[in-house]
Symmetry: C2
Subunit: 687 residues, 2 copies
């Protein structure tokens, strides 16, 4: 930290961690000198994460998002939970009336826990204690609902309710316990173990008792408990939490869940984790499970398990991922589609799947050190996670379509919306997992920027930031990052401190999106060289004040898809740096909607004003065809050529769409047909 | 009928209709001399339907399907209903143990009724009485479950169950009553009013009492009761059934149903029927409702209502219908998508939506006389309704995808399948509406071939058939149709009887698919003329033995889609006559799957052997790209050109696919890219 007072504060807080954290500390000490304020704290791995006390975002895109998160979203979530009765469920349970007064879906408890987790991580990076008061108050709502044996759930197990664990497929009890544990870990890591951590540990102890050896031989229909238990084991050093996570990972795919309408694949219970070759089924479930499997593999040194997840990730990224990084093309079961089934207009691309994909990427990056995971995380953060919340942080997309054909009405600001069909972002959903999931991701975000290893510091995501950590041997270093990213591609890293005169290395990720458009690195001594995608390294005896400059070729480029992505054949998209762009109807002349656009890929897209991209294109008038009775005709029949007006088409970053009222949007833009001749007359269509 | 004995039988049976049927008879007599053996018997309309006693299918495509229906499918359905307990539900209800022993979904009763309806219509065209015994036996299972006040449902209203009509959104009680009424009408029309008809009338009386003026001001979440009540009014002449149908039509769109996860549009309760501009929401619900609205409009002379449905149909056909005629592109809510959202690989195209579309087309055809309705009915019958059942009539597609990318496993022959995900047809489903719906459609099919009006006879669908009816003034006519349709396009209509020497008219539908490829008509006197799409008429003093010949240009043609159907841009399909064709992996060399195919639209498709179509194309090897880590790349990066082998590609009728083991399939075939140059080397892809 460059702020001495804050650094002291953090040190003080970290010192308050309890005896239970000893084992992790020891292990970490064996390898590295590390922060305790970590969302994910593996004891092994190629890279060591930096804590929220070591990385501070000071400005730019993500600083703005994080400001909105703390100033608007957290309170918004708290208010809505009270309003729809999800916090009230805990009171009702404590007072013995849950069977009568409970509100919301089975998993509503988890939203309260995710909010607590978000508040805790955000509190860890704030100078004020406001959020601590909120956490205490909300914890006091939750606490009385916990049973003496540690079980905590407002939907099951009380008089008049279904028995505990009577519906492992859909009941989400272990899933809720998992999010409770994550919240408890967040408190311990940011403020030291408090009441929330104690509740979480009691719940975890209950889970181990209920599902451990000799207990229920089952798994939860929605993975989450796995990653939570591993993180609790990391916090506390207690092996039994790790053992329980291993039991859950190994049990999955053994067919302990019933085969519902969506099939057992929905729950990833069709195949053991080690044998699966691609991410499949419900996207959030699949990604949470994979994250938990990486956590377990790292802690137990199980390289086979790690390899299995890497293989699944590779296949999903190569054949089941949208250009935005979004995952999941099925609305019906919120699941991955078959390979190359990626229709833009039916993209589900659930916000929470984006969050989960970032979780998985981060774990794989720490384990392997490979920049491809940071590449996908960047793409997903900018184009899915950043797309969900409205500019004011008080409305959200649940699903993130890449093509919307009609302007919907704005959802009522005071109503609960269905999850996937709203035209604009909605303030709250019946299944409202995205607001709190976005909130906890933004709260953790500084921790995803950089890592360290024995040789130095690695920068994975670019934002104005101040980074301070200790390298091997207690060698203290501090870096200041200044950048106009993602609007521009200039990244300057200034060394503010280097307490040793040994050489060390600063590594900078050169994003994969630079392929074919070289990036440049300028050393502190002024040497300038092109750097290919991957990690660019500068190793030297750094002196304070020295600067490294990375110049990334941020300019708009046409992107095309593998021809097997049938749904976007004959179209191109625009990407500019890490940002996917889109055409939005509000930027078209004459009230047109986006489906009239044609672009000419021979004309390169260019930078416009205020972060827009402009390209020469056509507005195609379909009015002549609007009245066609049947949309199919013989190829040998002469077609009515739509009259096309040449025009400039303005594109905006995809994450920014739908902030200017109801609109239509498309990411993939049809290309002009090369040889369209106007026929002398039209023939009847056939039906 | 050309068979005197059967004609007498029918007359005798018709004579057994009860007093209640008088009004309809009178009205019909005022307009026409008509059959009573009619699935749909409007009292007004441009065309008069012919009965199952007036039209007999004697050979060809549909005769085979109908033979399979009676020899396999009806018994298959009966056996499965017993096996899964859906007939047992009626026994359990009668014995007061439904609350404990009931099986299946809320609407399982309706399958029993649809089977009864199918049996009744099929019995009306058989020379044997075997099915009558089955109907009696099955009616005896159903009858004891009816309450004294006429209510009949095994899922609600008994001790330990939810109260009657406590869940109008999802309970399906009125829907079930509707199918019961349809079965009762089928019995009355084919065999005279029997026990089944009496049960149905008691149920209808109960519905009128419960939902009539002063009763529950609600509608059923699933339309069906509307069309059923109108048909019962037509049968019995009782105005109150018509009035009740009108109440249900007028109440819909008033927001009496709650707004569930899919929104009120799912139930068509978002807008009054008269104000809606397009079919929307759940496809089967939308189409059943539209059919009921046409029925009501026709009976009440409500041209505004009729116009509203015509407008909705036009919009849905122009922008929300697959090439196959299939409707519904959403898996999630089985609903219509937005305009032009027609992804082949996520086509839902539910079999029952095909059935319902044929129902609606038939009603609109009778009301307006416009051949466009018969055009869509033909397309839907051959490419959706005929696609669902397997060749043996013992397995079914619930959804009818136009593109399947992986070979699924064959569903177990003895297991209940999820509704939409099986790779092959499945013997039975948890929601098993398609087997009985296909069965009742095939059972009624002869009635859809031809109509009459004051001037003569109209032929709408082509099959080997014998047609005998009386025209105005008791002028008896008989026609014999011989055709190789749909394999070939030759239709010969021989006049076998014409009891008057006044001129009359034979009209033959020239399908819309002939546009741009002229059809020929040969008069009895040998005059040969081209005939455009629409109705071709021959008016003369026909003498027995005279023949009319229609020559339809049945040859394979490339079809392309409106560019706004984004999902099939850059592809073509093949249609041959009314049949849509497809590439199926079992016809490709070397075990390839269909996604390697490219076709050259410059090379016309040609007839192959055994009903296949062949075309010159390419097999594109993607092995080089299989390992690509990311499916998107800059357009300015050189691409790896897949190596392509020129080959002959064999296409088969879409309705025949998946009868040769698990396979992949696609209807829309990507076209070869015109100027693909092999680059000297490849560049790295970006992620």
């Amino acid at each position: 930290m460059t702020d001495g007072r804050r650094a002291d504060d953090v040190t003080g807080r970290s010192g308050r961690t309890t005896e239970g954290t000893n084992r992790r500390h020891e292990v970490v000490k064996e390898n590295t000198v590390g922060s305790l304020v970590l969302p994910v704290a593996p004891t092994r791995g190629r890279l060591r994460p930096l804590g929220l006390d070591e990385v501070r975002i000071t400005g730019g895109f993500w600083a703005g998002r994080r400001h909105t998160n703390v100033s608007a979203t957290l309170g918004h979530c708290r208010d809505w939970m009270e309003r729809v009765g999800w916090t009230g469920n805990f009171r009702a349970t404590a007072q013995g009336r849950a069977h009568r007064d409970r509100r919301g879906r089975e998993f509503a408890d988890s939203e309260v826990y995710k909010l607590l987790e978000a508040m805790a991580w955000q509190a860890g990076t704030l100078d004020t204690g406001t959020l601590d008061t909120d956490i205490t108050a909300l914890t006091e709502v939750v606490a009385p609902a916990q049973e003496p044996d540690g079980y905590l759930n407002t939907a099951f197990g009380h008089p008049g309710q279904a028995p505990r664990y009577s519906d492992l497929e859909w009941g989400h009890e272990l899933y809720c316990h998992g999010h409770l544990i994550q919240a408890g870990v967040a408190q311990a890591r940011t403020r030291g173990e408090g009441e929330l951590t104690k509740i979480a540990r009691r719940a975890a102890d209950h889970v181990c008792a209920a599902f451990g050896p000799g207990g229920i031989e089952g798994v939860c229909g929605h993975p989450e408990i796995e990653t939570a238990l591993v993180e609790l084991a990391r916090l506390t050093g207690e092996q039994r939490y790790l053992d329980q996570a291993a039991l859950f990972i190994d049990r999955r795919g053994q067919g302990t869940l019933t085969d519902g309408e969506f099939g057992r694949v929905y729950f990833q219970d069709d195949l053991p984790v080690r044998r699966a070759t691609v991410l499949r089924g419900h996207a959030v479930r699949a990604l949470y499970l994979a994250a938990g499997a990486v956590d377990l593999a790292v802690e137990t040194g199980d390289d086979d398990l790690l390899d299995a997840v890497v293989r699944q990730w590779e296949a999903a990224v190569a054949r089941r991922t949208y250009l935005t990084g979004g995952m999941g093309s099925h609305h019906r079961d919120e699941s991955f589609g078959d390979d190359f089934v990626l229709p833009p207009d039916r993209a589900y691309s659930e916000t929470c799947a984006g969050v989960a994909s970032v979780m998985l990427c981060w774990r794989l990056l720490l384990a392997t050190g490979e920049p491809r995971y940071a590449d996908l995380a960047e793409r997903t953060l900018f184009n899915v996670v950043a797309t969900s919340p409205a500019e004011d942080g008080r409305a959200f997309f649940y699903a993130n379509t890449l093509h919307r054909r009609h302007r919907g009405a704005a959802p009522a600001v005071d109503a609960v919306s269905p999850r996937a069909e709203s035209g604009l972002r909605a303030p709250w959903f019946a299944v409202s997992c995205c607001p709190t999931n976005v909130a906890r991701t933004l709260a953790q975000l500084p921790a995803y920027l950089a890592t360290a290893d024995d040789h130095g510091v690695q920068l994975h995501q670019y934002a104005d930031a101040e980074i301070a950590t200790s390298l091997q041997g207690g060698h203290g270093v501090a870096l200041c990052v200044r950048t106009d990213y993602p609007s521009g591609g200039n990244v300057t890293v200034r060394i503010d401190r280097s307490s040793s005169d040994r050489p060390w290395t600063v590594s900078l990720r050169v994003p994969a999106w630079t392929a074919g458009a070289p990036a440049w690195l300028v050393d502190p001594d002024g040497t300038r060289r092109t750097v290919p995608p991957g990690m660019a390294e500068v190793t030297r005896r750094f002196r304070p004040g020295e600067e490294i400059r990375l110049e990334l070729p941020v300019r708009p480029r046409w992107i095309r898809a593998d021809p097997r992505v049938d749904a976007v054949r004959g179209t191109v998209a625009v990407q500019r740096g890490p940002l996917v762009y889109c055409a939005e109807s509000v930027d078209l002349p004459d009230g047109h909607d986006v489906d009239v656009i044609r672009v000419d890929p021979a004309a390169p897209p260019e930078d416009g004003t205020d972060g827009t991209v402009v390209t020469a294109g056509q507005i195609t008038a379909y009015d002549g065809q609007r009245g066609e009775p049947w949309p199919y005709r013989p190829l040998d029949a002469t077609a009515v050529a739509p009259c096309a007006d040449r025009t400039e088409i303005v594109l905006v970053p995809y994450h920014s769409w739908a902030n200017r009222g109801p609109s239509t949007v498309r990411v993939w833009l049809p290309v002009v047909e090369p040889h369209r001749a106007a026929p002398p007359d039209s023939t009847p269509t056939e039906k």
